[in-house]
Symmetry: C2
Subunit: 275 residues, 2 copies
DNA sequence: GCCGGCGATACCGTGGGGGTATGGAAACGC
DNA sequence: GCGTTTCCATACCCCCACGGTATCGCCGGC
């Protein structure tokens, strides 16, 4: 199977529409139709249920969509990492915007002080994006927060564990409490984070994709939220916190794609675990 | 990058010889040369140091070899899993030959008794091969033994933990001891297992690649070894064991590629964790 | 200095990937 | 019910790029 065929199939499977998929791929619809049928014939597998009115995935098609995306990611990663290896341009570290508190600057300082340190480029992204960046080679190493992020398919080392606090505007009704429990938060407008596929579940509460955005919404009184206690270091005026006793503990880990330990990466991980 | 180009590069990088690589690929040498230079030009990266006498990898080339193999594995996996999904032919479970004792039959029985169980094909392979089989889609789920195998890049659930015993012929000088320590084994002919790349380190002791082979060598008095205590259930006459007090504990885990939880796989994992 | 080995270059033929035009089936409007 | 629209498949054509053969250029060994 060629990556070209995979790209074609993924486009069709995502659009469920040959015309739009062809447009997205910058080609005409007939060759795309032909390419997909050829792929099906070569695999000996029906990937799509077609009527002249609609296209849907077969079970095998769904498998190829999932596995094909991963394979395309791996190919892209190979390409990007090769390019970067030739430029010798250090490491790319990705973290959620606004979610690392003091840890990230401390890590960067500690690592930079090591002999043989390479430049570290820091990329901040929205929630749930780090894994995709690692997977397709746009990043080499990530700071993740369990249990929100998943380390599935990654190597990881634990760095810190912390409890969580409720973040709210200073005048909020719960702000005078010494502590709260999750049950006290029932009915409050907790923000909704994107799912793995980038969409949002239905529900009350605003849709957010990074911490800055979220904190601003809280300042405006449009939301409250539960976050790791380290955010207290970076709160503006007008926001206050109280501990949430029974919120899950948050573990910050440093994670990287398996089998891609360069010397530089090993040094960074070592510096991180020594913090 | 097309998978064809990747296959070409991997062949050349492994052979370090255009002629042999071309032969392996079933093509003539000139188009291969051209394809590789095109790849280098398109990537904007030098992958090979060439003299008219020899070919070696550049640093970037080494990265592309590593990442390219993984990417090709992912593409193959996509293809195989798609085919298998269309035939609806159950799951393929891989384990080291002779290393699972009672656990494997118990797991298969327990799972088969569940409603909606699919057929499980069992593949037994040599040490250190399971990960490759999972990676390229020839298997869906594996039984691994920590700390010998690695779960890097896989999802896993722990099943059992056990201590290790020394396995030796009945008349062996240590067979009368109630227990031994690792230091007692210094100088004995411990067998050598293959490394991740399938080669063997230099050293005394025979080269082995599965437990059956190993037990036979022990019967012949050509080796002794340290294995998880569950092997005692499957030892023939003439072999005996004593506990090794300070050998690392062995954890058996069930592992699968991340993000490939089919319903059938989820059922199998659940059955395994309930054992 | 000649030969042998190896990678690069030159040149050619063909298959397949991509384009346009059109067919054909199904849903929708009136 | 018939025209219209929508959307995938088919028919046909063109051209590029992939692969093959022949040959060159370089280098090391006998």
């Amino acid at each position: 199977m060629e990556t070209r065929e995979l790209r074609y199939f993924v486009a069709v499977a995502e659009e469920l529409h040959f015309g739009r998929a062809a447009q997205r791929l910058g080609m005409a619809q007939p060759p795309l139709s032909r390419a997909i049928s050829q792929l099906e014939r070569r695999l000996g597998v029906n990937l799509l249920h077609r009527t002249s009115r609609s296209v849907t995935l077969t079970e095998a098609g769904a498998v190829l969509l999932r596995e094909g995306r991963a394979a395309l990611g791996a190919v892209e990663a190979a390409e990007r990492r090769t390019r970067r290896a030739s430029e010798n341009s250090g490491l790319v570290l990705v973290s959620k915007a606004g979610a690392t508190g003091e840890l990230l600057p401390k890590l960067l300082d500690a690592y930079a002080a090591e002999p043989g340190a390479v430049p570290i480029e820091v990329v901040l992204c929205g929630a749930g994006q780090q894994e995709a960046l690692l997977r397709d080679g746009r990043a080499d190493v990530a700071l993740l927060h369990l249990p929100f992020d998943s380390t599935a398919g990654l190597d990881a080392e634990e760095l810190t564990t912390e409890s969580q606090v409720l973040v709210m505007p200073a005048g909020h009704e719960l702000s005078t409490r010494a502590s709260v429990r999750m049950s006290d938060l029932a009915g409050l407008a907790l923000p909704r984070w994107p799912e793995l596929d980038g969409t949002y579940l239905q529900g009350p509460g605003p849709e957010v994709h990074d911490a800055t955005q979220l904190l601003q919404l809280i300042s405006l009184g449009r939301a409250v939220t539960v976050l790791p206690e380290s955010v207290r270091a970076s709160l503006h005026e007008g926001l206050t916190t109280v501990p949430v006793l029974d919120a899950p503990l948050v573990t910050t880990v440093i994670a990287w794609p398996p089998h891609s330990r360069s010397l530089a990466l090993a040094g960074l991980v070592q510096a991180a675990t020594r913090l």
